[in-house]
């Protein structure tokens, strides 16, 4: 099978791709105009961060780093729900 070094290089490549897509999301968030688009961009950024935490925890053999993955997913959902409640409550075009 694959050697340990090859496994670690594959994982580091995946982390690099995640950082690249996070930068693209952040660029799009900084230049976006409408509110729902910005909300789902923050969502995508948060889910990226959850996978990034787990991958970094395996890569550095550090168990305590993996704690933050679950609350991130839950708080992203809560942010969605609050924003959709605000958008429904008022008839505002933008």
């Amino acid at each position: 099978m694959l050697s340990l070094e090859t496994q670690m290089y594959i994982l580091a490549g995946a982390v690099g791709l995640y950082i690249l897509s996070s930068l693209i999301y952040a660029y799009k968030l900084a230049t976006e105009k409408s509110v729902p688009d910005m909300v789902i961009l923050v969502d995508s950024l948060t889910y990226d961060l959850a996978v990034f935490i787990v991958a970094l925890s395996i890569l550095t053999q550090n168990a305590y780093l993996a704690v933050g993955a679950l609350p991130l997913a839950i708080w992203a959902y809560v942010f969605d729900i609050y924003m959709s409640k605000y958008l429904e409550g008022r008839e505002l075009g933008d």
């Binding site: 961009l41 990226d48 996978v51 395996i58 959709s84 008839e91």
Partner: protein
Amino acid sequence: MVTDALTLIGQVLGCLGLVLALVGAVNDLIAAIGFVRFKNFYLRLHALTVGVIGGTFYPLIGLGTYALFCIAPPLGYYVAGVSYVTAFFVLITAPAGSHAIARGAHRAGYRPEPAREDKLAKDREEGVME
């Protein structure tokens, strides 16, 4: 003999999980490009789904399997449990959240811009739906 076979099966499953994580990272990059290329909010929801299910759920399952079979027990079990539970909650909550934000956006007056027909808005004007 049996122990060797089980170890080999564990190694194969761990490497498959690693490949799944790499495929998920490529999916996430595709979703990011889709966010740049699509033109309005309702099309970008497709890119969000690719980014959540293909770019978060599958890599978490893959990383959990890799940690379960290829890392020494205390750390491996811990990371595997965290990633499986996170994947389960993402699978439940993310579609609900994206549905809620789409409903709120349509009610707040964001319409799909190049659209041939918007039957939801027409029903709402005629009073068929509240």
